[in-house]
């Protein structure tokens, strides 16, 4: 697995949300994008997963330029996303949400059960709630479901958009612990976070985004100690994680 984004520009109409960003994600890494509201983090992830079209530049995944590949085909290639705000299907049960996590399957039964087993091992809570409607889960449970559902497709690259959003500190700890665990089993992760403290502790490398540009790129541990980053993203609001 290797993701290489070169000089990416993304537009909403005339507004340029991403202004020439280049980033690399290598096999086995957790790479995090941090930055203030409106910096373009969600737009970056949506462009990688195919929900936003590329304005110019390229997205190379495993040696193939996927800029023109549609979103549902990128799932086949091994890119899954847990979207901002979790995107649970409220009217479907937990099990149905998980089942649809990989819509296109050649060998349905055996593969599906194996994947369900994996997800339930990571998130035992989901197993207890498998018959409950997605819309009635608590915020933390919904986040678990969003991540579990993305894992159903056995992604090589997992895109996570603010998994800590709106969660209590205990649950944030829990979610980040599981993210690290997912990474240990070989899944590469591109993580977007407002909660820079947690993200930088868990990630290997980090990029700091400001209004559509990368302003800093470094090892995550270095950024944790960087005075400028501390002031901007960790200072007073280190554990806030509000939105």
């Amino acid at each position: 697995m290797n993701l290489q984004i070169n000089d990416l520009h993304v537009f909403y109409g005339k507004i340029e949300a991403i202004k020439g960003i280049s980033i690399t994600v290598n096999q086995g890494e957790i790479v995090t994008l941090i930055g203030a509201n409106g910096a373009g983090k969600t737009t970056m992830l949506k462009t990688v997963s195919g929900l936003r079209p590329v304005g110019s530049g390229s997205i190379i995944f495993d040696g193939q330029d996927i800029s023109k590949v549609s979103a549902h085909e990128r799932v086949e290639l091994g890119i899954s996303q847990a979207p901002e705000g979790r995107g649970i299907f409220p009217g479907m049960t937990v099990l149905e949400n998980l089942e649809i996590g990989k819509y296109f399957r050649k060998n349905r039964k055996a593969e599906m059960n194996e994947d369900l087993e994996n997800v339930y091992n990571l998130f035992p809570r989901l197993k207890e709630r498998s018959g409950q409607a997605g819309g009635t889960l608590s915020g933390g449970e919904q986040q678990m479901l969003a991540i579990g559902r993305a894992l159903m497709a056995r992604p090589k690259l997992l895109l996570l958009d603010e998994p800590s959003m709106g969660l209590a500190p205990m649950m944030i700890q829990n979610i980040f612990r599981i993210i690290t665990e997912i990474n240990r089993t070989g899944t590469t992760i591109l993580l977007v976070e407002q909660n820079a403290q947690q993200a930088l502790q868990r990630a290997h490398r980090a990029y700091v985004l400001e209004t559509g540009k990368v302003v800093k790129e470094a090892k995550a541990s270095d950024l944790l100690n960087d005075p400028a980053v501390r002031a901007a993203y960790l200072g007073t609001g280190a554990a806030e994680g509000h939105h």
Partner: protein, 341 residues
């Protein structure tokens, strides 16, 4: 408030297979006998005062239910707002009229062609517009509905504003005759088509296309992230709905023996959409109920003449205020599980 849908589902769940089969067959038999209801003193309250009761059962009642079921696949199941559904009805009707008068095809030969042409126009319209979100589709379909009608008005080769007369009735089939004095046969055909659609929709809903539509309706972006080819499934839903509209058009033309552009106005699109919304979007039983009531009641109260549209409109507004999700809304599982916790 009494939840008829859940009550009904509960009773149904409690039955074993033979009971269910008996009930379904009995219900179909009763529905098939409806055209004769006007003849008996204890059911003749159903009689419509001005138009022939048997004709009303075919159009608007049967046709509206048929089209509402078709539109429900588009609007209710996959959440695509189609404001020009009448276009497909018109395409089916004109296919039957042209093929029947110029080439002497019989109705059953016209039926697959009418459906195919409606479906094809659905695909051609859907390919560019279904890529767009929300309101665009509503506007484009609204325009398409009007364009089809205006093309018919301005095209002398298909009768222009006068339309096409002398569309043949269906031939005698399996011993059943069709004609002005045999309206019950048309009704039976429509009921059979409705049954086929119910069967098809139920199968789809339980299986993968239904899941994909449901996901698209709830959140299209997330559906794509799950690997659902959203464009493909939207086009399927849109064109299956179109084909059903086309089928209704073919039967309509062969029943009324005459088609003209003003039969296919924007009003029809709105009425069919109202049937879906009023009955309960996404729930076939609700849609059938909505179609039946919205088609039948204005005919039944025709004796109050011009005021009937007004009275009916006020009643609709009132009922939609009391039951905003329709008479028999789709199952809302998020609420049910919560209550059961």
């Amino acid at each position: 408030m009494l939840n008829i849908r859940d009550k009904g589902a509960e009773i149904w769940e409690g039955w074993n297979r033979p009971t269910r089969s008996t009930f379904v067959i009995g219900l179909i038999a009763v529905v098939m006998m409806l055209p004769y209801a006007g003849n008996f003193s204890f059911t003749n309250i159903l009689n419509t005062p001005i138009s022939s009761y048997q004709a009303v059962l075919v159009y608007p009642v049967g046709m509206f239910v048929l089209m509402a079921l078709g539109l429900n696949i588009v609007v209710g199941k996959s959440g695509l707002l189609d404001l020009g559904y009448v276009a497909f009805f018109a395409i089916g009707a004109y296919t039957a009229a042209i093929m029947g008068t110029h080439f002497h095809w019989n109705t059953w030969e016209c039926l697959p062609l009418g459906m195919a042409l409606a479906m094809l126009s659905g695909v051609l319209l859907g390919l560019p517009t279904l890529r767009l979100r929300g309101d665009y589709l509503a506007i484009v379909t609204l325009g398409f509905g009007e364009i089809v009608r205006i093309v018919a008005v301005n095209n002398p080769s298909i009768g222009g504003p006068n339309g096409i007369a002398n569309v043949p009735n269906p031939p005698k089939t399996l011993g059943v005759s069709f004609g002005l004095d045999h309206m019950e046969s048309f009704f039976w055909v429509v009921v059979i088509m409705i049954l086929l659609i119910i069967w098809m929709v139920r199968r789809f809903t339980a299986r993968r296309p239904g899941r994909a539509w449901e996901a698209i309706r709830q959140d299209e972006d997330v559906a794509a992230l799950m690997g659902v080819s959203t464009l493909k499934y939207k086009i399927w839903s849109f064109s299956i709905g179109a084909a059903i509209g086309g089928a209704a058009g073919v039967i309509f033309a062969s029943k009324s023996m005459y088609v003209a552009p003003d039969m296919f106005s924007f009003n029809i699109s709105v009425l069919i959409l109202s049937c879906v919304v009023f009955g309960g979007m996404g729930n076939i039983w609700g849609v059938i109920l909505g179609g039946t009531l919205l088609a039948y009641i204005p005919e039944r109260i025709r004796f109050i003449s011009n005021a009937r549209q007004f009275v009916f409109g006020v009643a609709l507004v009132l009922i939609m205020n009391i039951r905003p999700d329709g008479l028999l809304p789709r199952k809302k599982r998020e609420k049910i599980t919560k209550a059961g916790e």
